[in-house]
Amino acid sequence: MAVNESSRVLVGVISNEILIKKIFRKVPPVIMLSLLWLLIIFVLAIFAEKLMPHDYTATNLRNRLAPPFFMGGTADHFFGTDALGRDVLSRLIHSIHTSLLVAFLGTMITAIVGTTIGFVAAHFKGWVDEVLMTLVDFQYSMPFMIMALLVIAFFGNNLILFVCLLGIQGWMRFARLSRGMALSAQNHGYAVAIKQLGATPARIYLKHILPNVSSILIVQTTLNFPQKIIVETSLSFLGLGVQPPNSSLGSMLSSGRDYLLTAWWIAIIPGIVIFCTTLCMSLIGDWARDMLDPTIEK
């Protein structure tokens, strides 16, 4: 018996290793590159304070609109300076920090709120479910941007409100997904079994159903994150998101618009960062979803 058991375990370990290797062998080069790019961006965002070569607010009117290094500028201001003589690279790093932080917090709010709503709908069923699903349909047909502009107009603008507002974007996808998965998990043996042990609904959902559906929710989160970046930068670009002196990639691009003819890099560099980051995240999210697809079918 004991020999039998240990060999079974051994087989399990070996097959797991093979599986991991297989997954890694299957990672296409594009995904590898995307991961690399995101790694750089996240390092810049997390260690922004330490990596900024200059103070991102320090102005120097004598050195305005200096060209970047690759266009004959100095290495001191690698990406040149803006209209107030501020170091573009430092501002870029700070903006990456702000944009990613805001988008990250917004995504977390969306995931938590959306998943909770989905679980609540699945648990109570009946009219609660009907009402919540009507709201989901409503949110699908009403663009978030329009709602956001309305709320910003009435409530004014501050960073906390802005993050909460971003938290609304895309909640319905999480709600619909988690509701569907909770409904199927409810009929699954373990939920029934644990319920009949006397567990409260909160315990069943948080300790059992949530871990079981987490991989799908994580994929949904990686798909939501780039959308958050787009929405945040769009609103900041319109001057309605992150407010000065703080700066985001969107507001940086917006302020660079006026100097397109003389210093195009001020606008184009943050634009490229937004583009590459969202593209890489979407590629990874799509890839991860495809990898998970067979399990979703089950």
């Binding site: 709201l135 409503f138 941007m145 329009i146 004014g156 670009f237 319109l238």
Partner: protein, 310 residues
Amino acid sequence: MHYRYFLMKILRAVITMLLVVTFVFIVLRVTGDPAQAILSEDATEEEYQHFRKEWGLDKPLHEQYFAYLINMAKGDFGKSFRDNRDVRIIIAERLPKTIVLMSSALLFSLCIGIPLGIYSALHRNSIGDRLSMGLSVFGFSIPNFFLGILLILIFSLWLKIMPSAGSDSWLHIIMPMVTIGLGKMGSYARFTRSAVLSVLNKAYIRTAVAKGASRMRVIYRHAMPNAAIPIITIVGTSIGHIVVGGVVIENVFAWPGVGRLLVSSVATRDLALVQGVVIIVSISMVIANLLVDVMYGIVDPRIRISKKED
């Protein structure tokens, strides 16, 4: 029985409109006194009292809600505090420009995206297919405001062949149209490609080919009509994206439409105007979606039959 399908769609549209107005009402009430929010700052006490009475602000909340619904149904959004003009008139002035821009953007994305998708499906894995699919990935990944800035930089500032702002001539519409439409074009192309490919793999197409029908005939008589149905659905879901794209892009190209009006009124907190634009934009979107649903119901006889079963 198929009117049941249309009835359900209309009912859903009405509920959505009601929810839009309710949402605006809630935002309006949560911020405080709607009279102060909607009226301009230099409104007289008389105007203030008149407004309160007309909107039923002295009455209990549910009556206020119904009064608000009636006002919205009448299209009475109040007056802009900047020039004290009726919000309806201001929006009506801007609306044609927006409609022109959005419909041309939609047309552009359809007219380029669908043929591109068909071409890719028919020449699968060719260089043309790879290129067009690459272009479509680029199209829907790039943030539209960044694309707009890029176009301005390249075509207006460097090549100097396109105007960068305004709406004076037909030339002005090209860049905003392309900017809004490119993202959608990409998704239409990809979607059309997969729709056509899946139809081409169906048995009846292979039968038609086996019977010796010409390639073109098979494509236009058999494959296209069947691929059209999923394509209409995806067009329906993209109206919202085009509207949102319009709001941002009108600001990039200084296009004097409703989107620009919305952003500037949010920035100046001209709340009556914001409220009017939000409601009009949302309701036109609901109606546009409804029209797509109705069209879908007419084109696809299957849903008329299958929907009544459940």
